[in-house]
């Protein structure tokens, strides 16, 4: 079933779910998600319509300066809860697997705010994001990405002297014969598109909003 084929009531219920997520109201979102399930609406469609559209609205609100990092974190948590309720009713064989992104600030750099924003926004648009924190050595990025069979490694750096550690991860992937296995996206205050091209990164995000777009493009996610 597609959204156009739904009854007015079903559509209204999904709109309510979307609005509850955008309003960051976990209690209401939980109740509506459960009602969606009991009503018999296709949970995959509910995720695609209500959760995905809520993520878009949350992103727009961040872009417009209405929402901030805490709201992104809370909305991500609410989406997690809702998605789990809906996914319980999707047969395992029909489950869409989320793309996995391993993210962190590179070695010798403890700055986190940009990385936190990117990680949270990636999560809110539906990626499975594993945040390794700050001062993360190359080997940790690669080991974790291998363990999780990740799709992308995202590397943040705020200092000119830690940008080489972004390159180190890419060089290590090459020397281990793993370069083609993961997309690599980089970002951070002093980082430029030219630098990303120079070190062989697949993508560069000027800020959190652009980072999400680049990740979606590289991982071919709508």
């Amino acid at each position: 079933m597609e959204i156009e084929q739904m009854t007015k009531e079903e559509r209204s219920l999904l709109d309510s779910l979307k609005e509850a997520i955008v309003a960051l109201d976990e209690e209401l979102a939980t109740a509506v998600a459960e009602k969606v399930v009991t009503t018999g609406i296709d949970p995959k469609l509910a995720i695609r319509y209500a959760v995905a559209n809520a993520a878009i609205v949350v992103g727009e609100r961040f872009d417009e300066g209405e929402y901030y990092l805490p709201q992104l974190v809370i909305s991500g948590d609410v989406m997690d809860v809702v998605t789990k309720i809906l996914e319980k009713n999707i047969p395992k064989t029909e489950m869409e697997t989320k793309k996995i992104i391993v993210i962190g600030t590179v070695q010798a750099d403890v700055h986190s705010i940009g990385k936190n924003l990117v990680a949270t926004m990636l999560k809110s648009v539906g990626f499975n994001v594993v945040d390794l924190g700050v001062d993360v050595p190359s080997a940790t990025f690669i080991d974790k990405a291998k363990d999780l069979n990740a799709d992308m490694i995202a590397l943040s750096s705020l200092l000119t002297t830690t940008m080489p550690y972004q390159r180190e991860v890419i060089d290590d992937l090459v020397s281990m014969g793993l370069r083609d296995r993961f997309k690599v996206m980089i970002g951070g205050g002093p980082v430029t598109k030219a630098y990303a091209d120079k070190i062989g990164a697949d993508g560069f995000g000027r800020d959190a909003i652009e980072g999400v777009e680049v990740a979606k493009r590289l991982l071919m996610v709508q």
């Binding site: 300066g65 901030y68 986190s112 924003l117 000119t160 002297t161 205050g189 002093p190 000027r206 959190a208």
Partner: protein, 458 residues
């Protein structure tokens, strides 16, 4: 004041708490205090706050915030708890003036008054990357600005033709940074001028390896030891603070709050913006702070102005000047690059705010700075001219609001301009802007005078 050794011990013995839990607690506490103290933007749009009662409430909220949260040690993942008495004692015992530099280049850097009538202290430049070949020339250009009180270092990617990577090369590069600074101020005829080390990384060896009265950092120089956003500190920085406290160098911190981070919106940023320099003083003995509030969209160069940010910044600085000894600086961060009229207009706006809110002036530079693309001496000279005119004209908060409103109207529907590399718009050999930039500067100056800043000398 609580000793740095006591802080060091608390980083080892304080309550263990994971980063994410801290961040969540940070947001929850700040949200509760925004409501409790009724921190809210007035219905009428303002660039500079005129409500003294709001300033008092914001300060009380910040003290309660710091007392509730303490400071988070990122290295040990422990909370450094602080009592109200410890916080208030530190505020009371902090100095309002810092001596810097030697001999005839000695300066006194002071806390300013709201709507004060004394000329501001000035750090004209750096905190932006330059290439190795320009280093010495750039420093001597900034040191030639007569009003310079201290000058800050800068970062770079290569040293002696090699890319800087790893602690040993960083230590070497850090020492070269200070060598260049010392050489640059000497060339400018101001050998005693204080220089401030800009950490190219935050490892203890980088921070401490520059200490060298003969060729490196003198006791009369300074070092930037910044507290991280969300009240986070590091043990390497604390180690350096302990060393420099004994050595004698002054310390400063980047202590503004970032709207868009875990403090939330403008109201939460006001609370963090007041609490953070107090925490920096306690954790690292940073008595000079670049203070206020910035927005993540402005720091990323997405938007020139975001509503209420200037207002929030003014509350933070008014509170710090009224209730603490924090020596505030305005870090002028235009979203447009050097060589453009927008860069000068943005600089003008922030240099008008500074004396009215009681802030000294610090290192103007493009928000998305890249190598040789951050600043020229002209933006620094411009901010001095503008702030001097504001002081001479005797602007109060209301007059400032009116003028800022007129300038802000120029930014409507405009996007930040990329700007130019320093060599494209400034002649470092002759210490003057290139013709095109000079014409832009003259035009902007004349227009600002027309708008009401009549003491600006054309």
């Amino acid at each position: 004041m609580i000793t740095l050794l006591e802080i060091a011990e608390r980083t080892q013995t304080g309550e263990k708490i994971e980063d994410m839990k801290w961040d969540k607690l940070f947001y929850e506490t700040i949200s509760r205090l925004v409501k409790k103290y009724d921190i809210a933007h007035p219905s009428e749009h303002r660039f500079i706050n005129t409500d003294d009662d709001m300033v008092g409430r914001a300060y009380e909220a910040a003290i309660e915030f710091l007392e509730t949260m303490g400071i988070y040690c990122l290295t040990t993942k422990r909370r450094v708890a602080l009592t109200r008495e410890e916080i208030l004692t530190a505020i009371r015992e902090a100095p309002t003036e810092i001596l810097m530099g030697t001999d005839r280049d000695r300066r006194v850097w002071k806390q300013r008054k709201i709507e004060g009538r004394e000329q501001l202290n000035v750090c004209p430049g750096h905190h932006t990357p330059f290439s190795e070949d320009l280093a010495g020339l750039v420093v001597s250009n900034f040191a030639q600005i007569p009003r310079t009180d201290f000058i800050e270092g800068f970062n770079f990617t290569h040293i002696d033709g090699r890319e800087i990577v790893g602690a040993p090369m960083e230590v070497y590069a850090s020492r070269r940074q200070i060598n260049w600074m010392r050489e640059g101020v000497r060339k400018a005829g101001r050998p005693g001028l204080a220089v401030v080390y800009y950490p190219i990384n935050t490892r203890a060896e980088d921070l401490i390896g520059i200490m060298d009265p003969d060729y490196g950092l003198r006791r009369t120089d300074g070092i930037l030891l910044s507290l991280l956003p969300d009240l986070k500190m590091e043990q390497d920085m604390l180690s350096a603070a302990i060393v420099y406290e004994e050595y004698g160098s002054f310390k400063l911190s980047g202590s503004f709050a970032i709207i868009g981070g875990f403090c939330g919106g403008v109201e939460g940023a006001i609370i963090e913006g007041i609490a953070k320099p107090i925490a920096a003083m306690i954790a690292y003995r940073d008595y000079i702070n670049y203070t206020g509030v910035e927005h993540v969209h402005m720091l990323n160069g997405r938007q020139i102005l975001v509503p209420h940010v200037n207002w929030a910044r003014s509350i933070v600085n008014q509170a710090l000047n009224r209730f603490t000894h924090t020596i505030c600086m305005r870090w002028v961060i235009p979203t447009s690059g050097p060589g453009t009229d927008l860069c000068l207009w943005e600089g003008a706006m922030q240099s008008i705010e500074a004396p009215i809110n009681g802030m000294n002036l610090y290192a103007p530079r493009h928000c998305r700075t890249t190598i040789n693309h951050g600043q020229t001496p002209l933006e620094a000279e411009w901010m001095i001219e503008v702030s001097d005119a504001v002081i001479e004209q005797g602007f109060d908060r209301q007059a400032g609001n009116e003028l800022l409103g007129r300038i802000a109207a120029l930014f409507e529907n405009k996007k930040p301009a990329e700007g130019y590399d320093i060599g494209e718009c400034y002649d470092l050999v002759h210490h003057q802007p290139k013709d095109t930039y000079r014409e832009i500067y003259s035009r902007v100056k004349a227009e600002l005078r027309e708008m009401g800043l009549v003491k600006l000398v054309v």
